[in-house]
């Protein structure tokens, strides 16, 4: 690092000398980072040193650090500040989704895919998709279960969208908030090597919900075995990504607290999956028509109204 500073000072102080030394460095502007690094390389090639490789190796990391620092510099009331949370490309989002679905032992999701650029695009739209996937497929499965039952009147059950939205968005935002607070508190007591920012935790949680979208579509099949298998598979895949991500953050803590934290994360994840499956895809209605909810209400109302209209 000292070498870099030396070289930069040399470069700006004795620009005249350098220009005389190599003519091709004249057209380079200072503001452009890529041309800056080119300039540095040229300078080092003009004055050969032993640390050349070292310096070039540091060059990229320095640049990324600088850019990361610049990103956070916009104040929070400006639009640019929020644009930094949506600074992703299509292939990055696809990679992150893949990473959240396929757990790889020993690979940290945050370090491997997010890399100090947490986005809110994925979490937000994955949650939105999941809300409608659960509400719509729950509705279809309810229709399939009741199909052919006399006196059954199909209802869209739009209320389910509201309930699913409340449940999923509160899971995807409140649990990360609580976890972040907890990790901050633990960090102040015990020094942990790995610490995550709030946005990184939100990002991990949002992407970990992706696997439930295909699972929710599979839950349409009115067969309990298929449903439970898909629930367990989805839960294991995304749950293991969560556990493997947060285990390094609590590893250096006391054994009991670390295990308790990770098992709480896993338990909440299981609770969401099983809760959604049980609430939105309750197949007991087929055997026992006396259930609560809008469907049975309309079933009760429908005959009376028919009587009225007749």
């Amino acid at each position: 690092m000292a070498a870099v500073d030396d070289l930069q000072f040399q470069e700006f102080d004795d620009a005249e000398n350098l220009l005389a030394a190599n003519r091709d460095a004249t057209t380079i502007s200072i503001g452009d980072p890529s041309s800056n690094s080119q300039k540095q390389r040229r300078v080092t090639s003009a004055t050969p040193r032993e640390e050349d490789d070292d310096l070039l190796g540091h060059d990229d990391s320095d640049k990324t650090e600088l850019l990361a620092g610049q990103k956070k510099s916009a104040p929070f009331w400006t639009f640019e500040y929020y644009q930094t949370f949506f600074d992703v490309e299509t292939h990055q989002v696809l990679d992150r989704i893949k990473g959240s679905v396929l757990p790889w032992p020993g690979k940290n999701f945050v370090r491997l895919y997010i890399r100090s650029n947490p986005d809110l695009y994925g979490p937000f739209w994955i949650c939105a998709t999941l809300v409608f996937a659960i509400a719509i497929s729950g509705n279809i499965s309810n229709f399939l279960v009741h199909h052919g039952v006399p006196d059954y009147h199909y209802v869209p059950e739009f209320r389910k969208v509201t309930i699913a939205a409340t449940a999923i968005y509160s899971y995807a935002w409140l649990v990360p908030l609580a976890l972040w607070g907890f990790l901050m508190w633990r960090n102040s007591k015990v020094m942990n090597l790995v610490s995550y920012s709030f946005l990184e935790i939100v990002c991990v949680y949002g992407y970990s919900l992706f696997i439930y979208i295909p699972a929710a579509v599979l839950w349409i099949v009115p067969n309990e075995t298929v449903r439970w298998i898909s629930v367990v598979v989805a839960m294991c895949l995304s749950g293991s990504v969560l556990v493997m991500t947060f285990w390094p953050a609590v590893r250096d803590d006391h054994r009991k607290i670390a295990i308790a934290t990770v098992s709480a994360i896993a338990a909440l994840h299981v609770l969401l999956a099983v809760g959604c499956k049980e609430y939105f895809f309750d197949s007991r209605e087929a055997e026992n028509p006396k259930t609560d909810g809008a469907a049975s209400l309309t079933e009760k109302i429908a005959p009376t109204m028919k009587n009225h209209s007749m």
């Binding site: 299509t90 739209w125 209802v155 809008a294």
Partner: protein
């Protein structure tokens, strides 16, 4: 001080001379030129009949409807936005999605306010999303495009209600399914034709996906619309 007074004297003297000795009557045109030639009347909208104003706006809305029905990457929908068309379409759709009778509150379908909120909140969120991803389109232009592109779905809703008058068998469901899928594809295609160009190519899919989801949900609401029980036998 004395020098200043001496210097000022001739000035004041001159002024008093001018003001006093002006016994010539004041003459000249002091009227503001209001009565301009009649050409201006045609361009002013202040004193035109209300009917003309409304008709002109309706014509603009109708022109945009045609643009949505034949999406050909024209920028007319983007250049001068208005929110009258989206409001009209949204209210029509929300009204049509209501059950027929007022006492069937538990029909499970979306209420008027829910449809209204989903359409407006959804298009605002999609617009914010595309702005945050670095789109070059302005906020209201995007809202206008998203609102106007509901038109195929609203048309599908009207046809669906007509089909539902005929009966609610599997055949009617098949007709409605095809209608809704076609209009959903139409809406998505039209809005992406207008909006996708404002994005860098590496992010197009990220912008198109929320639009797809938005129209999919509206299509779902239309498809699952069941008439009220009062319409039964």
């Amino acid at each position: 001080m004395a020098e200043v007074d001496e210097a000022n004297k001739p000035l004041f003297a001159g002024l008093s001379d001018v003001s006093i000795s002006a016994d010539i009557p004041v003459e000249g045109e002091i009227t503001v030129p209001v009565s301009s030639p009649s050409q201006d009347d045609e361009y002013s909208t202040l004193d035109e009949p209300v009917k003309d104003t409304i008709l002109r706006d309706l014509k603009a809305v109708g022109k945009k409807f045609v643009h949505v029905m034949y999406p050909k990457k024209s920028s007319a929908l983007l250049r001068d936005w208005d929110l009258w068309g989206p409001l009209l379409l949204c209210v029509t759709l929300a009204l049509l999605l209501q059950g027929g009778s007022a006492d069937s509150k538990d029909d499970g379908g979306p209420q008027f306010a829910e449809v209204f909120v989903i359409i407006w909140f959804g298009s605002v969120v999609i617009t914010l999303n595309s702005k945050l991803l670095g789109g070059t389109i302005s906020f209201f232009q995007s809202l206008c495009v998203l609102g106007y592109c509901i038109l195929p779905l609203t048309v599908a809703m009207i046809v669906c209600r007509l089909v539902l008058l005929g009966g609610t068998g599997p055949a009617s469901f098949a007709i409605r399914l095809i209608l809704v899928i076609a209009s959903f594809g139409w809406s998505t295609f039209a809005s992406t034709a207008f909006l996708a160009d404002s994005q860098p190519p590496s992010r197009k899919a990220l912008v198109v996906y929320p639009i797809f989801l938005f129209y999919f949900v509206i299509g779902w609401m239309i498809l699952t619309f069941a008439p009220s029980h009062g319409a039964g036998p």
